[in-house]
Amino acid sequence: MTTHVAAFRLPVRITGFMPLIALVTLVAALTVADADFLTQRSLTAALRTAAPLIVLAAGATLVVLCGGIDLSIAALASLSTVLLALWLPDLGALATPAVIAVAATIGAVQGLAHVLLRIPSFIVTLGGLSILSAVALVVSGAGTVRVVDDSTVKWLDLYLGGYLPMSAVMAFVVVAVIAVVLTVTPLKSWISATGYSESAARLAGTPVDLVKVGAFCVSGACAGFAAVMLVSRQFSGGPTMADNLLLPAVAAIVVGGTAITGGHGSVWRSLAGALVVTLLRVGLPIVGVPSAYEQILYGVIIVVAVALTLDGSKVSIIK
């Protein structure tokens, strides 16, 4: 898929395949370390595990493509789990869209603060991170909110045909929808132009501010959807539940080969990146790497993976 989208415009290059190659290499290496790893059940579990991360990373990828960064996604997802858990008893099936809408709104508000106040996105979303965490803590009464009747979110934790986790399928659908919408509308060129050269985009009459706010909005919505996945898996919401997914999500984006400076990249790349990161997080301890070495290996592998996937020809100066 990666190359398919890329081929729409660019000559097919080896770098387009790099995230996939990294993924396959990693699976192979884990299998060598522990032959039990390459089983259908194990891969199914890994896919199910990766789903929320894929969705989070896909949303944040849009912000990165615009040249910004969204550090609030994980905190927003945590808050969303709390809201969903609180609203499920009253709203039932409506709770899911309601939470996604609220998360999208919060994302959009951050985007507005970024473009209207001209504060770097790093700072806006870092501030957003602390504010959202505080709200989540207060709203939840600083505790876990249990979901007693999870019938309306349970569908996300089912398996398609007995093998494919529904959450992974939905994550794939989210990525596909974003990618297709971008490709068939002018949005893709607007986002790329904004990311590569904001001033040129603006002077070409591109709605730069709208595009950015939109990207933050989608990023928020994705955080909300990831939260729904987490709740369906955890049967509860918690004010810090997703907090630890921030750095893995950013890592997924970069490992996928999307330039952190903006412009170059795609959500498909982030999908591959999220799978790589998940395998690293889960695979290393499962095949028996001790905790301390696991962290060291994680650090080394992720750096090497980025070195492989980043298309140097697209980015002249690497900061």
Partner: protein, 357 residues
């Protein structure tokens, strides 16, 4: 573009055709109670990290038990990251689960339910400790053998009382809370409140969260010391790491020895401090024992030496015995060690202090 649309519609179609199932496919026949050979048992211990003394001693206890039955414990750590814990659990459960025994420290209350559900459907024997939501009960599950925890209200109150005594029954104290959204932090603080209700002379001047962290406790304590000055006669900390941070703060403020400090967990440094008289009291929960006992219960059931059905209802979820450590008895807690007798199948429930309330 067209082809991606095709793929999506195809996969959606497949969904409709195939229908949905609750479980991933593959064989996961639940193990019959007691059908495993000792050598086939797979022991897994999972805690947050190996980089703090309490959890390190937990894993050490697990290793000690595993060695005593000629096995090896698989150590898993998840860096206090709930999602990572779930990911590891589901990956473990995706492997061979026939004679799997897990002794798990869930990161928070919310993490217990999915772990239990996963273990249940995979037929893995599970013992959880510390965190679980009140309405989730091991007795309702087949392979969730037991949940072990300590009465946080009791320990919070015990050290609260010890602190009140140490400052002579009257004066101001400050409280350092743990991570606000954990049951342990809440229960312990509730214990302090109970103690305050009893010791009317003691006044709670201020309470701040220091997230169970030594470094944060240091900063918070220093700030509170300047805020309340000499009115602070005692410091109540929800765990020993924070108590040790508070001790450092007192030393840096030149108040070492003038303010009483209490904590919970009995980590070696804290026991040392109690011995030296720097700290007034702590409560021992014996991490080494916790690391071994969870595996021991699971091992006994897996090998048939104990029948899950025979475990008394009160032992399916219980408070374990805890000990108030003061200067008088501190020497006995100075070096944590395991007693192999504790882990014999007949003795695994010896430390039950009472059913979970």
């Amino acid at each position: 573009m067209k082809s991606s649309a095709t793929i999506i519609s195809l996969s959606l179609m497949a969904a409709v055709l195939a229908g949905c199932t609750e479980e991933a496919g593959g064989d996961n026949a639940a193990a019959e109670s007691g059908s495993c050979e000792s050598a086939d048992v797979r022991l897994v211990g999972q805690v947050r990290n190996e980089s703090n003394p309490y959890e390190a001693s937990w894993l050490a206890g697990g290793d000690a038990f595993a060695q005593s039955v000629g096995l090896k414990q698989e150590r898993l750590t998840y860096d206090g990251d709930s999602t990572k814990q779930q990911e590891q659990i589901s990956q473990i459960l995706a492997g061979d689960t026939k004679c799997l025994v897990m002794n798990v420290l869930p990161n928070g209350d919310s993490d217990t339910a999915p772990i239990v559900k996963g273990a249940d459907s995979a037929g893995a024997y599970l013992v959880t400790q510390w965190n679980k939501p009140a309405d989730l009960k091991p007795a309702d599950h087949k392979t969730w053998l037991s949940h072990i925890t300590y009465n946080g209200v009791e320990s919070g109150q015990q050290i609260g009382d010890a602190l009140a005594t140490a400052i002579g029954g009257s004066g101001g104290i400050i409280a350092l809370q743990g991570v606000l959204d954990t049951a342990a932090a809440k229960d312990r603080f509730a214990g302090l409140e109970a103690s305050l209700a009893k010791n009317t002379g003691v006044k709670l001047l201020d309470q701040q969260a220091a997230n169970f962290s030594r470094a944060e406790a240091l900063t918070v304590t220093k700030t509170l010391l300047t805020k309340h000055g000499d009115n602070v006669k005692g410091i109540w900390a929800a765990n020993d790491d924070m108590a040790l941070g508070a001790l450092e703060a007192l030393q840096q403020a030149g108040k070492a020895g003038k303010v009483a400090v209490v904590g919970i967990d009995a980590v070696p440094d804290a026991v040392g401090a109690v011995q030296k008289g720097d700290m007034t009291a702590t409560v021992s929960s014996d991490g080494t024992w916790q690391g071994g006992i969870g595996l021991a219960i699971g091992y006994c059931v897996a090998t048939g030496k104990l029948k899950a059905a025979d475990i008394a209802a009160d032992n399916r979820a219980f408070f374990a015995k805890q000990f108030l450590v003061t200067k008088d008895n501190a020497a006995g807690f100075a070096t944590p060690k395991t007693n192999p007798a504790d882990f014999e199948c007949a003795n695994v429930f010896n430390r039950v202090a009472g059913p979970l309330t």
